[in-house]
Structures are given as structure tokens and as C-alpha cells.
Subunit: 286 residues, 4 copies
């Protein structure tokens, strides 16, 4: 998929007659060969959402020509839209603390060609994962977080992100809470992995609390970070069965496998422009 | 959903530019308000498949006017298509032998309003399930199967089906193999439930063989019946975990729950015109 | 399994050396043929829990002789224990309101011989499910609940339960909250089904809230009822995947299937004496 | 768990009265503090299987004294048994070809302390995975396989395994079929991962065949290798849902995640002596 020369258009707007025809006609006029199209209507909220992907081969507009050509259609239907090219590799930063399983998993998938992005930088408040960065030859930056100097630390992080032209951030078990100010710089572009089936066990120590509550399944949730802790739009979740034979360490170990899978799926969905947001929820065009 | 006044168009044809636009424009011209649309392109085989559902409220064609109006579009793109109205309740026959869990499940869902069809007749080669038919007030017909008179039995069955204007047949653990001749009367309109994760354990006694093989999961598969046993297009499958603590009876009991869920999902998908067939496979527009 | 003539001993006590030997020796002295034995040690809390089932065929004690014979062993290790005979069918009451899917499922399983108990009475605050009770020939008692007369209603219910010698109660989507006084009459003997993956969405309208939150899986939880709402020991849970294509009605419909499976599993585990309680959690000897 | 000083006894024998008591008494006499005990009776085949783990702290026999002391008990009940010490790290060899995801996963888990063994050697018929061996500092040996010199290649492999005192072998997507002669050197000590839900799609190209068959779930199976291809006792299996939206590459990619999880679980179960074999099946004491 990564080698394909395709364009992806994501649209959301008030639902109205003629929307599909308008988009399909526009693409046809410019000789697009549609490869995938998926749409969703939320009847209650009257929202229309669409993802359409076409081959750029015969398409008679390039990416810069697209905007002015499409503008009248977009205006007519009050569309919010964005266009992406499958050949573009968005620049990703990974934040990590001490637990390294999600980082190791992302790096392995990256070098295996599974993630169509550039991992530009790994930022950590610890030194423990430096060896992984070195193994996969990714720049590693240590930014220590002192209780009394969080603002300064975030400023340092933001400076690095700007310098690296980062498009989106993945929190791969990063154990610090980012400030609302920080998040406002990357709205819906910070992906977190929380080690529970949200909204159950939001906040600290979810495995401990799952163990105490005696649940029969544990989960992991990947979501966009918003200003409210563990409350952002959910991209992906999964669970696995546990029993009384699993002690707390078993929960942590088995949960780690869930976290890796769930986070990597969410990152992939984000990179492939398969996530559309509305009403604090996601539509996943898989 | 059942009370909505909608039309559903299912299309399959060679993939070509302009297909989506052609269909969308046709619907727009006739003032359709599209509620759902889903399509799939098989790049390798060059096949385009689509399901589109619209509100009949403002649509300016009735169902009989649709065909001549749509014919030019269909011809241009060499479409195979069919149109259904959500208000139409297809007539279903259930074949059953002695195991009654799938039958009981379908009947309960039917009376609960979950299945938008008419269960016109229950046909069985045993008397055991007559009480269920009577409870839910569905006509019950006993057609005994004698080893030397299978042809006659099928003729009796076919006569009943014709008299009842049956649209499709559900084999709810019917333990007889239908002849190719019989199946040709209802191509892709006989839905079976097989008590294994096909293609594993096709044929007889799948739970016994699963137990002997020591598998860690058991499954159930619902598929359209073709002339090759247990080889038809798969509509739905699911599995559940088992362990050495489960003996053969546990497998049979736990498998029964799978069979009910999988068969009822498949029947529902069929009734709602969400299944498209190509290359001995199904596309499920869910 | 129901036809077997077996005894089941459930033990919980402080963990100590010699426990397994003491129990095994006692059983051997009385010529027991052990069919299943399962135990669990909670290292942190120092708790030992055991379930052992043996054939009564050659066992040289009957059920009334067991207690005095076993008392010295029990005393020595400070055991809490109970003995059950597989041939005994505990008497169960079902409470239900309007949603009938769990009730219908339990009744079908009951008549199919899947639940080794006596369903002695169905109590409802509505008349809607009377037809199901009549179909399966189970006594049905309507006890209306008036906002200002809840105490009286519970007294009526308790009188019925006493008259029927009820051993345990199943709340099959019973939409009233039972008072602490009521629950104290049946400690750890009231089984509820909650239509969410607890502790997520405890309380009212869990499907609505799951839909609003945009979760990717919905769940159901069966638990013993305690005085704190939706907080009792969890017996069984399960989940199923949903997507943006599922509207609220789809969630409710698909959740109903989960509720049936989860509740019936929990009831079965309870009846077969496979549930041991400690620290507000369950150990499931499956 | 790895740091505990425990002993594990695995027993299988004809089922007889007094077995549990005999083992429990023997352990009590020698002052064992039992941490876990699990047993299984196969009623049909009359087989008794047990895993018991105890603390060595107060145990008054060391590992070499155990055998003569336990011999009379074992003889009396015709037991097959083996004893393991949790502190002993079995020596493991990994065979791999070009696909490296399972190898990378095992190596990461190994360095993270999740696998309580020594990975002594990686043997490959290709050079592609040498970098992974070097990253994790594991000896790597290339043994090319030429069509006409398979016997010689296996002899070379066997010589390496002997030199390294290998206890068991993991085939981490090793694309060569081992000869019966080879396998006889490591009976029930070669663990394979097959990329399908066995017995479905045994043999070559399972993902291709799963795609063609249109299954709705794909699977992975880890099993001990026997002389019959893909027919050995199954240790672990799992599945994941796929749809028509997944092309062959998606199946391969998503299956890879299953393979990693399933193989690593199987290896862990083997290392922790949680697998007992009988009747070409496994009992998993988890």
C-alpha cells in the first residue's frame, strides 16, 4: 500500500442530498480512478463523513491544484476536508518513559516497513530506552521532567518538535500528563495508549485496580489526547481474558501484549488517514 | 430499521471509472436521499461491488418504474444488480432435525421483531420440534426421510416450498444432505450452519474430531449451500476458547451457543441484503 | 453431568502446609474416587481455596454423616466449607421486568436440561413475560412496584420466596434496585446481569453512554448483588466489537446476545458450585 | 516468578484412588509448602495428570535426593513423572528463515526477562536475521539448505545443537520441513508456529488459501512437531477477525501479530513446565 501513488480525501459536513454525486462527479471530471470509498451518515446528528482514495496515475490535478478546483464543491456543501497523498510520510515523535514494550514494538514495525511514516525523534524523561533508539538508528533526546519545572520541560519538548517538523506524537507509555497548553499545539495529533478498557479504570494504576475489582477481562485503549485526562476520542480498543490464576504481574505482562497491538493499530489507522473525528468520537474507515 | 421505507440497491460489475458517479447521479436525479452507501473494489479481479440504501420518501420512482429507468446505466457498466424494498418481508422456510437450539433461537428472535421476514413454514424429518412451532404459531410440516426414497422426500419438500412461495431456506441443524438438484432450485438461497470453523472439520461429527485433535478453540460457520458439501460461500464465523477441562459434552453445549449466534447473524445479513457474492466468497456490507 | 452421583466440597481458609494432604487423606479414608480437584492459593492474602468433586458410589459417608466426620479437619485448618450433592437441584427464582431476552434464554436452557436446578417461580413487576412463563409451565407472580410502596412490594416478594423455599435469585434484566434489607436475606445468592463491561458504565443507561463515549467494544457483566450498586463480585464478563456503523439500537440488540450468554454462564457456574468468594472477588473453578 | 526457588512436579499415570493423597503426603512429609497444584482426570481414557509446584525453602530434599525418595510412590501408581527446578533455565535454539517477526518478538521478550530460558543459538538457512542476533548478542549460525544435501544440513544442525546442549528448539517461521530422523532427537521438544488455525489450512501457503476460501477469521497455531506435518499436539491457538476489506497482504500482516503472540505463549508454557502430553493432545496447566 505504501508504494501506491494515491490520494485520500477526508470529508465531513452536514448531511445533504447530492453529496456523493458531487464528490464522485468532481473526481470523474478529473479522471480519477477510485480505489476505495467509504462513507457514514449519522442520522441523529445529521452528519456526513467520507473517505475516498483514488489512483493519481490518470488524475489531471496535482495536489496543489486540487484545493482551488475543489473549493466550490466544498463551499456549496459546507465541507470540512483534507487531502493527503499516500506517498507522503508524516513525521512522528515518540514520547516514552521507562516501560519500553510499546516503543520496541513500534520500532520493529517501522523498520519492517509496516508504518508508512518517518519516526523523526524519540523523547524520553529517562535514559532506559536509549539502546532501542540506537539499535534502530532513531535520534534520541533526553528531556528530564522535574516536578517544579514542568513548563520549562514542555517548552524544551515543543522546541524539539518544531525543529523536527513533527506532524503527530505517539505517547508510548509516557508516564507524564501533558498540559492543556502543550496539547493545544497538536490538537487530535497526540495518540496515547491507556492500559485499561476505557472508561473503566481511567487514571492511575489501572492494572492494580482491575486486579482488585476482580474483572474477567483486561483491556487497552488508544485515543487522541484532549485536555480531559483519558477522555479523548477512542481510536482502538481490545481486551483479553484473565482469571484468578493470573496475579498482578500476569495482568501487567498480558496487558503489555494488548497495549502493543492496540497502539500500533491506532498509529497505523492515523497514518493511513482512516480516522475521522466528530462529537468526541471517531469513525474508523478500515 | 424494519419500519423504514427504504430501497436497497446491490450492484456488482467490472470495475471502471465513473461507476460511483453514474449511480450517485441517477439517484440524485430521482431525488433520493442516500442513507447508507458502501462499496468494495477487488483490485486483483477487477470487480466493483456496491450496496446503497436510500429513503423512498422523496424518491420519484416506485419499484416497478425503477428497472426501466435504471436499465441504461446498468447496461453501460454491465452491472448485475437487484433492488429490494426494506418493507418487503422475504418468506423463509426452516429445515430442522432433532437438535432444536438454532430453531428455538430463530423463533424467539422472530417474535421479538429482530428478523424482518416471514417464517412461513418449518419442515422437519422428525416430530421433536413440533412444540416449538406450535408455541410460536408457525406451520409445521413433517417430511420423513427414508434412505431409499430421498428423491421423493425432496419432491415433497419442494412442493411445499413452492406452495408457500418461499424465498430462502435456513438449515437450522438439518442433518440430511440436500441433493444438487434440490439446491439448484434455490441457488445461494439456502443458508446452513456447520458446527465447526470451516474449512476445519468439514463433514460429519466435527465436535468429536475437534475434541480428538485437541484444538484450543471451537467454531461455527454459516454459509450458502452449494453442490460441494460444506464448501459454499461463508457468510459468518465465530469461535470460542476451550480447554482440557471441557469434555466432549462441554464442546457440544458451548458450540451450540456459537451456532445460534452465527446462524442468526447470517440470516439477518441475508434478510437485510447485506451479502454480495463473487468468486465463491461473500462481501458483507455491515 | 447432572445425572452423576457426586459430591462437591468447597473450602476456603488461611493457607498452610498440609492442607491438600489433609483433605486428600480424609477423602481417601472414606474411599472417595476424586473426579475433579482444583485449588488456588492467593500468595498475597495467604488464602487457600479448593473445589473437589468425587464419586459417591464407593464413598462410605452419606451427606449427613459428612459434617461430623469432617469437622476435626475443618477445625484444625480453620476452614470455611460447604458440601453439595450434584443430584440436588437448587430452587431458583427469576425476577424480570419488560425485557424478556434473558428470561427466554434461561427458560429454553432449563427445558433443554442445561441448567441443573428447579425454576420455582418467575416474579415480575409487569405482565409482559407471562406468556413465556406459561409456555414453559413455570409459575408466574406479578408484584407491582409503586414508587411509594417499595418496602411493601419487597415484603410481598420475600414472602413468595420463603413460601417457595428459594435458594437463589436471578435478576434477568430486573429494572428495580433491591434494598440492602432485601439483599441481606440472600447474601451472595442474588445474581444480576448488568449490560456493560463493569466497572465501565455502572448505573443507568449503559448502552446510551457507551454509544456517546464511542467505545469500540461493548460488554456485559454478571455479578452477585451487594449493597453497593453494580459493585458485587464479578462472576462472568464478555465483550463484542462494535463500530460507527452500529447505532444505538444495534448496540442494544448486539448487547442482548452478550447478556444472555454471560448470565446463563454465571447461573450455570453458580448451580455447579464453581464459584468461591473472597475479598469481594470470585474464584471460578471451571 | 523466575526468581522463585520452586520445584515443579509433572505426573501422568492411570487414574486410581489415593493418587492425590499419596503425592500430597509425600510432599508434606518432606515439608513442602505447595504454591500451586492443578490436576486433570480424563474419565474416558482413565488418565490422571498433575502439575504441582512448591517452595524449596523448607523442603528437606534437594533435586538429586528427590528421585530415590519419590521412586516408591511413582512405582506404586505407575507414574510417568519429571521434576524441574524453576531456577533452571533450559537452553533453547531458534530456527528461522527470512520472516523475522517471530524471532524479533522472542528476542525482545527474552531481554525483557519474560522468558526464563537461555537462548543459546539462532540457526538460519539465510543471513537476513543476523542483525537481530547481533543486536541481542545471541550467537548466530548460518546453515544453508541445499535441495540435494538436506541430510548433511541436518547433521550440521544436530552437531551444533549437541555442542550447545540444547534442551528444546523453537521454529520461528522456519520454512524447511525437518526429517523424522531429526525430530526423533528432540521428541516433543520442537515447537513450531503454523500460520493458520489448524487443522484448517495445514501445509503450504495458508494465508493464500484462507483468502481464497473467504474465511471471516484467520488463525495461528503453535504445536509440537511430530513426524506428520502440522499434526503434532497443539499447545496454543488464537484467531482474529478479517473482512473483505482485508486483502492478502493485510491477512499476512495481521496474521503476523497472531503468530508472535501464539508462539511466545507456547514457548512460555513449555519453559514453565505447564504442558503435559497424552493421546496426541496437550493439557495446559495455566
Amino acid at each position: 500500500m505504501s508504494s501506491r501513488n494515491t490520494a485520500i480525501l477526508l470529508v465531513s459536513c452536514p448531511d445533504r442530498k447530492g453529496l456523493v454525486a458531487a464528490i464522485a462527479n468532481f473526481l470523474l471530471q478529473h479522471n480519477a480512478n477510485i480505489l476505495h470509498a467509504d462513507q457514514h451518515q449519522d442520522a441523529e446528528l445529521g452528519v456526513f463523513l467520507m473517505r475516498v482514495e483514488w489512483d493519481m496515475q490518470d488524475f489531471d490535478l496535482n495536489l496543489t491544484e486540487f484545493e482551488p478546483a475543489f473549493a466550490p464543491v466544498a463551499r456549496q456543501f459546507e465541507m470540512q476536508w483534507r487531502l493527503a497523498h499516500s506517498g507522503h510520510r508524516p513525521r512522528m515523535a515518540i514520547f516514552v518513559s521507562r516501560y519500553d514494550h510499546c516503543l520496541a514494538d513500534l520500532l520493529y514495525r517501522y523498520q519492517a516497513g509496516e508504518l508508512h511514516c518517518e519516526i523523526a525523534i524519540i523523547i524520553s524523561n529517562h535514559q532506559d530506552t536509549r539502546w532501542l533508539a540506537e539499535t534502530y538508528r532513531i535520534p534520541f533526546q533526553h528531556v528530564g521532567i522535574h516536578k517544579d519545572a514542568k513548563v520549562e520541560a514542555e517548552e524544551t519538548q515543543l522546541a524539539i518538535l518544531r525543529r523536527q517538523h513533527i506532524d503527530f506524537i505517539v505517547l508510548a507509555r509516557y508516564m507524564q500528563v501533558l498540559s492543556p497548553e502543550f496539547i493545544r499545539h497538536y490538537p487530535n495529533r497526540v495518540i496515547n495508549i491507556h492500559h485499561s478498557f476505557l472508561p473503566a479504570f481511567h487514571g492511575a494504576k489501572p492494572y492494580h485496580r482491575a486486579f482488585e475489582r476482580g474483572v474477567k477481562l483486561i483491556g487497552a485503549t488508544s485515543h487522541y489526547v484532549t485536555e480531559v485526562l483519558d477522555d479523548g476520542p477512542i481510536i482502538e480498543q481490545d481486551v483479553t481474558r484473565v482469571s484468578h490464576r493470573d496475579d498482578l504481574n500476569d495482568l501487567i505482562r498480558r496487558g503489555a501484549d494488548l497495549e502493543k497491538i492496540v497502539l500500533s493499530r491506532a498509529v497505523r489507522l492515523h497514518i493511513e488517514h482512516r480516522v475521522l473525528l466528530y462529537a468526541n468520537k471517531t469513525v474508523i474507515f478500515d
